[in-house]
Symmetry: C2
């Protein structure tokens, strides 16, 4: 056996368990349920799912696939394309998979990312036959060291009947020691999570497992696929400035300290760009307590703006990926990766009082937010961690451009076509137009703020007209139910939400 | 001074602060913000708000009123009637107040009941000028002993500029020692809440305050107004049986222990009746971790079915009120009243893994729940604690009759007209027809379960027809946005949700 592999598989009992991905895939039978490592393109099981797709060309095969979040390396795409998935949860972000879901060819359960572990613990979903977990090593005492994400890997390893390891030689071995694995006991037998600072460590550096459960180890050599975020642009810079103006005012009013509060930022270009804006701000000694650590977090770490970052996954653009992983050791004392149940846990989010920054698909006049469904029916990616954070954070902020599709879609509508975050949970909405601070306001007080400060000028009059007509009928939250979705149906029919137009602007 | 009062006001510095309610009310000026004790008719400030309404007959007076939840003793009604409230939060349940809110004559902020304290701590709402808190005594070391509810009294007392005490001689003095007051520090400086059992005590038996903040003490002598719940009936008994069948299956499958898990039950007749159903069940050694303790909890305590009950308020029917308060001491070791922030805290709810039972206004085909708005526009009472519990509990259960208004309203609709609990948060729906266990199911899997097991037979065909038409257009969550609210608009126009009917059944 290769000396390097011996150094990575330090429990000698494992040395005779190395198998090909085809052999590992052969163990997986029709109807089984798999728990795959991987969170937003980071640390995903790569070889075995690919082999499984090959195997499915020869035989009928449908499996349930649970993951941390979205997978990279085209794994979600090829599995969806091959039609081997019966049910998938809790999050995805692949266009082919999305199509399958929306055509009704695949079942998808859109879960809060902190909830999957509890559901498995309760035994209320199909039990896992196999956990397939990417690792960078297995220690002498049998702990699995995950790679670039932890996600749900620890609960999958705990609950699965058997475990397949993908030992990925292409991932930076220096990540060892940068994970903190803490598993919760069953509800009712559980102690408080003793985390009061973002840099507290609670558990072990690897996933402790019964080594007999590890049925096979597949050696792989493939880096994560990079994120597809686009760099900050002029408009996202304006949005970032509005957000920073708001934070500055909160600081001046004594509501936030000079280093703000631990920051969470959702996945994607807009959230990344907004966080990036803090580079130019006066705020220092910042802390991050988030799920995905994107490019901006590393820029802020490098600039000395962020003191410490806690996440459950590292997801980087192509350029940043090489830069960060060529010298990951320098972040050793400033970074930790945790299970997503801990990164997204209500207990911690509420205790620390996070500032959460997420991106909606659309918001409505009263502050309800749609994060998941296009036109109320078609799944985009899923709610992800936005619910975990928004409900429990100190400041629940949503950031979006005020219009999309050259102005034919308004991000501010009379009634969101799907509700993921209710009016009770949304504190601040930011667009390139400005921000609306909705805290402590009744529905009617929120309306003018959202229209004036967030909606695009081209839609303001139309929003006021809806609200005026609705108000004439009275009610705490005025609506005209016949017209509540008229903007969406107008878009479906005429390609624009603009009234009196049949082809937008 | 009366010897009895001396015994209740044990800090002698307070003896010269006794004033009439008129004097106390004279301190309250136009534009002030008040924090009133009281949670679902229990332990509300009674005399000073009444005097304030009298005072408002002579002068212009508008105040903001924050409470624990709804007030009893007609306080919400007379304040609304007098038009003295500018803004009210976080919950109410009075028909006059409701009318004012829905006419737009009064602002109402509908908050999660665990969120008000955080909002005050953050300084993101109007600061409190006065806390007006009903008490049964003040100890030698200056702790205020609340009466039949704790609600938000402790955070109000902490944050208010001044405190007015209503020392109520009619409340049972034996309640002293049955409260557990634990206040959280600011977010960021906060320790874990070290509660791992429903009967753990964390704090002090009274509200510790700077005694100099107590500006006046008003002596009162008026019992709480009783709850208006109606006794269990045949239909609620059927619903309770469906719920118990579900719990029994969970127990048989090893998902719940023989004493289930700590129970939370919402306010009102249906939730009370369902809990009452456990009297006849095989489950014993039960625990309650709830906000309001209603009649059923005491019946279960008396029957030896419930071992211990934790709440933030005791709200009883007229008959039960006399019975319980004539001998409250017998519950001394089996009961605790906490601040609502602790009774409803996500950290505790998730840790203990509660079974939460709440009542919706309507649910939809996919499991979204409306708890607050009639026809999407008119506020009923507010979300209360249902969001705190539902999001974080082990089992989030909603219980409702399948129809209302002689069948002209279906509780199961295509699209709820307001969303308070999203599909991600709802585990089980129970009606008199049966129950639908939605855990781990994709939207399309939920639809037939909800229609067959929960909807009334008279509406099933109509629900299937909507779903079939919607499905033809595809999508993860099929809808026809043009018709999503057609049941509601049909009801508004024709008095019934039944299609092809103009006068229901």
């Amino acid at each position: 056996m290769d000396q390097k592999i011996k150094q990575l598989l330090r429990d000698s009992r494992l040395h005779d368990r190395i198998v090909s991905e085809e052999t590992a895939a052969s163990w997986i039978k029709d109807g089984m349920t798999l728990g795959l490592s991987g969170f937003t393109r980071a640390g995903d099981a790569k070889a075995v799912p690919t082999a499984l797709v090959e195997k499915a060309k020869q035989e009928d095969l449908k499996v349930n696939v649970y993951t941390g979040a979205s997978l990279g390396s085209d794994i979600d795409r090829i599995m969806a394309d091959a039609g081997i998935i019966h049910k998938r949860l809790p999050f995805q972000a692949d266009s082919t998979m999305r199509k399958e879901i929306n055509q009704g060819d695949m079942l998808f359960v859109d879960q809060h990312l902190s909830h999957t572990a509890e559901a498995l613990r309760q035994g209320a979903m199909n039990p896992l036959d196999f956990a397939i977990v990417e690792a960078i090593s297995i220690t002498e005492n049998g702990e699995i060291i995950p790679s670039t994400s932890v996600g749900n890997s620890s609960i999958f390893a705990e609950k699965a009947e058997s475990i397949i390891i993908e030992l990925n030689l292409a991932q930076p071995a220096e990540l060892e020691g940068m994970h903190d694995i803490y598993e919760l006991s069953k509800q009712g037998d559980r102690e408080p999570i003793q985390l009061t600072n973002v840099d507290d460590h609670l558990g072990t550096k690897g996933i402790p497992v019964d080594i007999e459960k590890i049925k096979g180890i597949v050696i792989t050599n493939q880096v994560d696929s990079p994120s597809t975020i686009v760099p900050p642009d002029e408009e996202t810079a304006v949005m970032a400035n509005h957000l920073i103006d708001f934070l500055r005012k909160e600081n001046e009013l004594g509501r936030l300290p000079d280093n703000l509060a631990p920051l969470q930022s959702g996945i994607g270009s807009v959230a990344n760009a907004v966080l990036h804006g803090l580079l130019e701000s006066e705020f220092t000694d910042l802390e991050v307590y988030s799920e995905v650590l994107q490019d901006a977090v590393f820029d802020l770490l490098d600039a000395g703006k962020v003191r410490f970052a806690s996440g459950c996954s590292i997801t980087l653009s192509e350029a940043k990926l090489d830069e960060v992983y060529s010298d990951i050791s320098k972040y050793r004392d400033r970074l930790v990766l945790r299970p997503q149940e801990i990164s997204n846990h209500p207990e911690i989010i509420r205790r620390l009082g996070l500032i959460s920054i997420n991106t909606p698909i659309e918001v409505d006049l009263y502050g309800n937010v749609n994060s998941t469904h296009i036109q109320g029916t078609k799944m985009m990616n899923g709610i992800g961690g936005s619910g975990d954070f928004t409900r429990n954070s100190r400041l629940a902020i949503f950031v979006t451009k005020s219009i999309a599709k050259e102005g034919n879609i308004s991000s501010v509508v009379p009634f969101v076509s799907h509700v993921d975050h209710t009016e009770h949970d949304v504190d601040v909405i930011v667009t390139e137009q400005g921000y609306a601070d909705l805290r402590g306001l009744a529905p009617k007080e929120r309306v003018p703020l959202i229209i004036e400060n967030c909606a695009h000028p081209m839609y303001r009059e139309q929003l006021y007209a809806y609200y005026k007509e609705a108000s004439e009928q009275g009610g705490h939250t005025p609506h005209i139910l016949e017209k509540a979705f008229s903007w969406h149906t107008n878009f479906a029919k005429n390609g624009t939400m603009l009234e009196g137009s049949t082809l937008g602007v």
